[in-house]
Every structure is written in structure tokens, then in C-alpha cells.
């Protein structure tokens, strides 16, 4: 087994009385594609936000490689090698694709105010390097032809790809993808799965949240399942799919009716889970 790159130990986060994440421990290993699934509101995105420092855990530790992430300011994470995308796309929408990706490369540069105003050779060299890296990232995601367009004018699927390009350009060791397939059609989803594999093949560890079981079961090496903020299963895709607790979380059982009634959406993942099972049968 390869070594652990991200390690969550007993992580808990409360919002007032609500326990959003409840004593979750899980790890992500170097070079794998790791998935986190669960019904809506299970706390998946919250885990990402904890890892990226948007929220601070009430208890527990998060380690990235050898380093504890407790108390690391969120803007430092990109430099340490953690990049992410967002569930509801967050692009710099009135800037061009090129500029979006250049900002993604912020942590790869060092120049400041003086460099910008005096434009001495080191500054120019850095700008050239950054823009070269930006081109590469755009091309990797197949967006280099549109580099000059404004992000807000892109179709939805390309916006998602631009977000990934922006994350990739920082040359992360760990890439967090928050529902990358949301809103995509089947063709786009297959292309996305291919892209995620390609990213993994460059040596980047991928940690993703996804609702689409076809995508999750198709590409993940290991899958963890979250329900009501607690981890209820963790293992190979096939194991997780058979897990009684997981099936109960998604489909509910007679004995749990009481709880189910409070859950807003349950129908969507149900369908997706069946779809996933069908795919794996092939």
C-alpha cells in the first residue's frame, strides 16, 4: 500500500446545535482516486471545507503528509499542494480563461508590487513561466482555444473544466473535486472520468465528492460513505455497494421511517445507485 497523503482523525464540526461532521476518520493514499459519497446534507462538502481551512474543526486533526493542517491559513494550502473545485462553480467570471488560470497559479509565483511596477527581468521571467504553465493547464483541459474568452460566457460543462484547469495549474499533490459531474450529460461524464484518470496518471492524488454512482463506481479506488455527518462505510467500490448500512442510508428501511421523514431529498441518489450497480455489472 502506498503512503497516506491526507489523514483525518476523529474530526468533528458543529454549527450551533447541529453536528455537521461527527467524529470522522478517513485517509487518502498517495496516487489513488478516493471518493466520498452520501445523501444530500450528509456533510461531504463540509469535509472539503474542513480540509481547505474554510471551517476549523471543533475537534480532531487533519494531516497533509507529515504536516498538521490545524491553524494553517486557507490561502497557504495551495502552496502546500492542495487544490480544489467547488460544488457550485466559483470562477472569476468577468475575467478571461487565461486570467482565471493565471490566478490559479498564484502560489507558483512570488513577485509583488515592486516587480509589477518596475518590471525588471526576474519579474518578466516569472510572468512568462506562469503564462506557459497556464497555457499547459488550459490545453490539458482542452480549453486553450478559448483562452481569451470571459469565463462567464462559457457553457456549463466547460466552466467545470476551467475550474479543474485553475486547480491543476498550481501543480497540486492533492486535488479535491466537489461534484465535478453535476449537471453534465452522459458524454461529458465519460470525458470527465477519462480526464480524472489522466490527472491521476500525472501523479496527482484525486479526492472527489460525487452523486453520480456511475462515475464514482467507475473510477474510484476506494469509496467512503457519509450519513448524518458520520462515516458509515469505507472500502472498495464493490464492498461499499453491498454494504447493508449504505443501502439503508440511501433507501431507508421501515424501522428508520421516523428519521427519513426529515430528510429533504432521497429519490435522486436512489436512482443513481441503481444506475451504478448496472454499470458495474458490465
Amino acid at each position: 500500500m502506498s503512503e497516506t497523503i491526507l489523514d483525518l482523525q476523529d474530526v468533528t464540526l458543529r454549527f450551533g446545535g447541529l453536528v455537521a461532521v461527527d467524529g470522522v476518520s478517513m485517509d487518502v493514499r498517495q496516487g489513488e482516486i478516493r471518493a466520498l459519497i452520501g445523501p444530500n446534507g450528509a456533510g461531504k462538502s463540509t469535509i472539503f471545507n474542513l480540509v481547505t481551512g474554510v471551517y476549523r474543526p471543533n475537534q480532531g486533526t487533519i494531516r497533509f503528509g507529515e504536516r498538521s493542517l490545524n491553524g494553517v491559513p486557507p490561502h497557504r494550502l495551495a502552496g502546500l499542494g492542495i487544490a480544489r473545485t467547488f460544488q457550485n462553480i466559483r470562477l472569476f467570471s468577468s475575467l478571461s480563461l487565461m486570467e482565471n488560470v493565471l490566478i490559479g497559479a498564484h502560489s507558483r509565483g512570488r513577485s509583488g508590487l515592486a516587480g509589477a511596477v518596475f518590471r525588471l527581468p526576474p519579474f518578466r521571467q516569472e510572468e512568462e513561466n506562469l503564462s506557459l504553465q497556464a497555457w499547459e493547464a488550459l490545453a490539458f483541459m482542452g480549453l486553450d482555444q478559448k483562452a481569451g474568452e470571459l469565463a462567464k460566457n462559457l457553457p456549463y460543462g466547460e466552466q467545470r473544466r476551467l475550474e479543474i484547469a485553475r486547480a491543476l495549474v498550481s501543480q497540486p499533490r492533492l486535488l479535491l473535486l466537489d461534484e465535478p459531474a453535476a449537471g453534465m450529460n452522459p458524454q461529458e461524464k465519460s470525458a470527465l472520468m477519462e480526464t480524472i484518470r489522466r490527472i491521476r496518471d500525472t501523479g496527482i492524488t484525486v479526492f472527489l465528492i460525487e452523486h453520480d454512482m456511475r462515475v464514482v463506481m467507475g473510477i474510484s479506488d476506494r469509496v467512503a460513505v457519509l450519513n448524518y455527518g458520520k462515516k458509515i462505510a469505507d472500502g472498495l467500490p464493490a464492498e461499499v455497494r453491498e454494504d447493508a448500512g449504505v443501502i439503508e442510508a440511501y433507501l431507508g428501511t421501515g424501522g428508520k421511517r421516523e428519521r427519513r421523514r426529515t430528510r429533504p431529498v432521497v429519490a435522486l441518489p436512489q436512482v443513481a445507485l441503481e444506475g451504478g450497480a448496472g454499470h458495474a455489472g458490465n
Binding site: F15, F86, Q87
Partner: protein
Amino acid sequence: MAQFLQQMVNGLALGSIYALIALGYTMVYGIIALINFAYGEIYMFGAFTGLFLVLTWKANLYLAIFGAMAFTTVLGLVVERVAYRPLRRSRNAGRLSALISAIGASIFLSTLMVLLHGPATTGFPTLFQNRNFVLGGASISLYQILIIGVSALLMVGLDLFVRYTKTGRAMRALSQDADAAALMGVNTDLMIAITFAIGSALAGAAGVLAGIYFNAVQPYMGLMAGLKAFAAAVLGGIGSIPGAVVGGLLIGLAEIMGVAAKLSDWKDAFAFAILILVLLVKPSGLLGRSIIKKV
């Protein structure tokens, strides 16, 4: 102690005026997140309307207040219609465009009054004999009773309106989620217009009260009063009706206390110094909802 009580009374009277204007700011902000910079000018027009009614038609106090409220209601609606509604309709107009438009309306209105009346300050004719009552060592004038009384009446009325009428409920729904409210059949434009109307009426009443209290009416009186009232609304937590009242009263009190402490030269800075200090400790204002950052 008596001295302190006296300042409390004075501060309460001044604060009531700020609170009335602050209500207009906070209601409009709560619903469409717009800083209506023209409110100070609507308050000024209220004062002038009252003055005009008293001078020309020999109106009594009540007529002056009601007349001013009626006129500023119309004025508020016109400003909303001309300067804000077209911007709301335009998809390209950001919040800053609306702000600049509001500032344009403010400059327009104050200049208009300079043209109509001239820049000079006019005293307010005596409507009734002022008298002082002594209350636990502090004296309170009839004017002060009038201001505090009318303000309290209007605020309670507003609170009841927003809480218990169908229109009030629609307004609250709108401030929570404009799209959802529209889907539920709330007539957004109408509700926004009503909000402007109510806010403007309150500012009009505040204008007459201030004219009587300070015995001074002039075309630029709206600027500083408006800024301080806006500061009051933010201090209390913008969008919150009780917050506007609390903020208004606090700023009125602070100013009076400052004057009592022989710092009257600095009094215009108090409102803002308090505001900044409060915001640093509680960024959403005293009674404001804190916004949870959503990712």
C-alpha cells in the same frame, strides 16, 4: 444624576429623529439591498413641505406633519420610479450603478430646493407655546414630548404593520428571498414601492419634527442627517427594524453626551466613531443577522 437624566431626555429626542430616518434606510436595504442616498433629501423636503404649509396655509401641527408625510410619500415613489426601478430592470446594472443613481437623485433634489428656496436657513414659525415640565429633576419640553411621542407612535405602527398585515408579511418574505417571494405571488414592484412610500413618509415626519425642534430648515440639512441615520441603521444592524430604532437612539444619545462633555466641536465624529468601533466588534451590527459564509 439629574444632569444625566436631562441628557438622556435630550438624547432620546434627537435619537428619535435619527431613528425615524434610519427606518427608511433599513427597510429599503432589507428588501432590495440598496443604500437609498436620497433619503436625507426626502427628509429635507418633508421639513420644507411642513414649513410651506404652515407659512402659506397657516396649517396647524397635525396638518403640517400629515401634509409633509403625504408629499414625501409621493416624492419617494417618484424617486423610486425614476432613479431606481429602471436600474432594477436592467440586467447589466450592478449595485454600484444603483448607488450612483441614488447619489444623482440626492444631488438633484438638494439643488432643486436651493433653486426653489435659496440656500439660506429659515426658522420654523411657532406652532404652539413650548413649555417645560420637570420630571425627576430633568426638564422635558413639550417639543421633546411631541418628537418622542410621534416617533414612538409611528414606530409602533410600523412594527404592527410589518408584523400583522398581509402586505407586511409579503415585505418580510421579499427581504428573505426575493425570487421565492415572487414565485409565491408577491408583487415585487408593488411591495418595493410600498416600502419606499412608508420609508419616505417616516422621513417626511422626521423632517417636520426636526424643523420644529431645531427651529431651522435649509436645503443641505438632509446630508448630515441622512449620513448619521444611515450610520444608525448600520449600527443597529441594517435590515432590522428594531435595530434602526436602537441605532438611532444610541447615536442621538452619544451626540448629546458628547456635547455635554464640552466636545461639541467633535460631535459629528461621534456617530461614526461609535459605528466603526461597533462594526469592528460585531460586523453585522448590534441586532443584525450574521451572515454565514456559504461555500
